[in-house]
Symmetry: none
Subunit: 198 residues, 4 copies
DNA sequence: CATGAATGAGTTTTCATTCAT
DNA sequence: TATGAATGAAAACTCATTCAT
């Protein structure tokens, strides 16, 4: 049981970047067996079908990113520092993120939307989780009276996600982190002008 | 010539929404012949392969959108009105855009990034064209002294694209135009606080 | 169209004995392509899936047998001669029938019963058609007053089918037409003692 | 030894109806482990391969049926009563027989004929055993001078098997025991008109 | 002995592309 | 130029069997 759990995790870890780079429909079982050096039978021994593996791999990628983001948040103290950690997270880790295919939520959201129906709910939940993480930092800042008390924290959190994903999109398209920087600059401007209490 | 050009255009027009909804790799020739009621031979008589058609279909979708945006811009006079037209474009046409699969640039950019290599250049050019369209409105506003003279118009145009695409992403994911509205509100805020001359 | 119909028929004719010999579930697409010297794609171009081909092949086998039986019936005149033609049909053609796998109705009925659900209806209809063919000969004999007027023709026809299939079963199992002869002897006895008017 | 013999028997008893219902080729090891709640290793510890188990399961089914038939025969005294017991055996137990997939000899004979070669001999032996059982009743009747002394007992026994199996075939195909009754009526008629001494 | 993870050859099916007509 | 039958490589998935633990 321990053994099979290990294999299952190994398959997920190994294929998560594959799926993120090539897309969920576009990653074949041949790609998966090549990457894992396991047989098809072994993959199917651990997952009922490709969709189940794809979803597990996406969940893993999303959770990985969320965990890393939360660690960045928890490594600092004040709500403002936490917010800054969120803002710089993508820019700081850009090289690694790009290498494993960019933001898994962006990729999966676009693919899931009209084709990969089975991913839809998981993607939505991942976005919600991300938005909630940001919103709770904003809430803490409001409570601590560092941030403006009129702030619609959920909506602002969603706005942060939009700007970050928009930045990721252009940064990947142009293979240039200049666009990532534009997004960050704007987020910092928003913090100063719309979030911080005056 | 006229006839074959007509057929070619008919194929492009008919398949463009198909590709946008289901993805470029995921749309099969069977889908294409079913949608067009044409034979495979007819498709291959007009395009050397599926990739060429996919690219033509994407270009068509992107151009359609750009043309519609330009029409919206040209229907009003002042740079500020033009900018407002840009901002409201996606929100106003959201129902139609959603039905045909959402923003083709967003979809193709994500798919092209690591998989559909052949689309990459076309996607980049389409984004550049979009950014330039916005930038030229900003430039006109600066020239007309309606907009702040310190404005980095290219960067601001890219920021507009990011926020719009981020809004589209969340609006499609949650099937809710509330998020589209959040994006628009922010763009309006940016116009007021960062673009308009004080 | 003519061409594809030819291919379709060729596939059916070629695979019908295969299915009858090896069973419907047990005949693989590799067997089918080997026997027809056609590609898998060609098979799937003519049939939506293996089940559809299997059913078409069974129908063909059943119809072939029924047609041959009817020809035997029509080649003679009196109801009694026709009945004798039915009785000797399997014994006379035993060599050929054995070579192509035995009675397709027997084989398919056994396989269809609990496994190949999709064949069930077609098999039932084939048996009904066979029983009706025999019953109509019996009816004609009754009408012509050669056969006893008290005859339950449907039930007697079914009895004929039972005895023939029972004979086929043992003849194939023991690879001996002695059992086929036993069945025929009994049918002749039934004709004399239960069917012919006294 | 006792333990492993018990396991072996348990596996055979549990899988015999499975094989009879779904067919020998069509019953997978997954079906077998699911039905027995045993591991694959456990199955392979008790049988060298699936074919060996299939044959053992068939033998078990055949023997079960033969034993039940013999019990029915031995529960009555006179050869005529014994013959009647044989005739009514299938009709009386039809519900149970149908539930476990019908007559295992019929099923296995059809499947074994051209596909499952390994079953062939066992099937033939089972039919022989059945025919002998009936023949010995007939022999006893002849010896007791109840039955006609000219009777070819082996051939008549084979005829009984044919009619019974023919009846089973149509009864299962049409899911109607009316056909079983037709077979029985005919057997009774044969007893009266061809077997009993006049 | 028993387990069940792993295998690899097998299964059915799909699909972009070609080419004789 | 148009057709659509045919292709063959590749897709997802299954399954009897093995073997390290």
């Amino acid at each position: 049981m321990a053994k099979s759990d290990n294999t299952r995790l190994f398959i997920i870890e190994t294929t998560a970047p594959l799926f993120n780079v090539y897309g969920y429909a576009n990653t074949s079982l041949a790609d998966i067996t090549a990457a894992t050096a396991l047989s098809k039978g072994s993959i199917y021994g651990n997952f009922t079908n490709k969709d189940e593996l794809a979803e597990a791999a996406f969940s893993y990628s999303a959770k990985q990113q969320n965990t890393a983001l939360k660690e960045a948040i928890e490594s600092v103290k004040t709500p403002l520092d936490k917010l800054n950690a969120i803002v710089t997270f993508f820019a700081s880790n850009w090289a690694a993120i790009k290498k494993t295919g960019g933001c898994p939520l962006l990729n999966a959201a676009v693919e899931a939307d009209d084709a990969a129906e089975y991913l839809k709910k998981t993607v939505k939940d991942s976005f919600t989780s991300w938005i909630n993480t940001i919103a709770s930092v904003l809430d803490a800042g409001v409570k601590a009276k560092t941030f403006s008390k009129d702030l619609d924290t959920k909506q602002t959190a969603a706005l942060f996600v939009m700007i970050i994903e928009g930045g990721v999109l252009l940064a990947k398209t142009y293979n240039s982190n200049k666009h990532m920087q534009t997004a960050i600059d704007q987020l910092n401007h928003i913090i100063k002008s719309q979030i911080l209490k005056k």
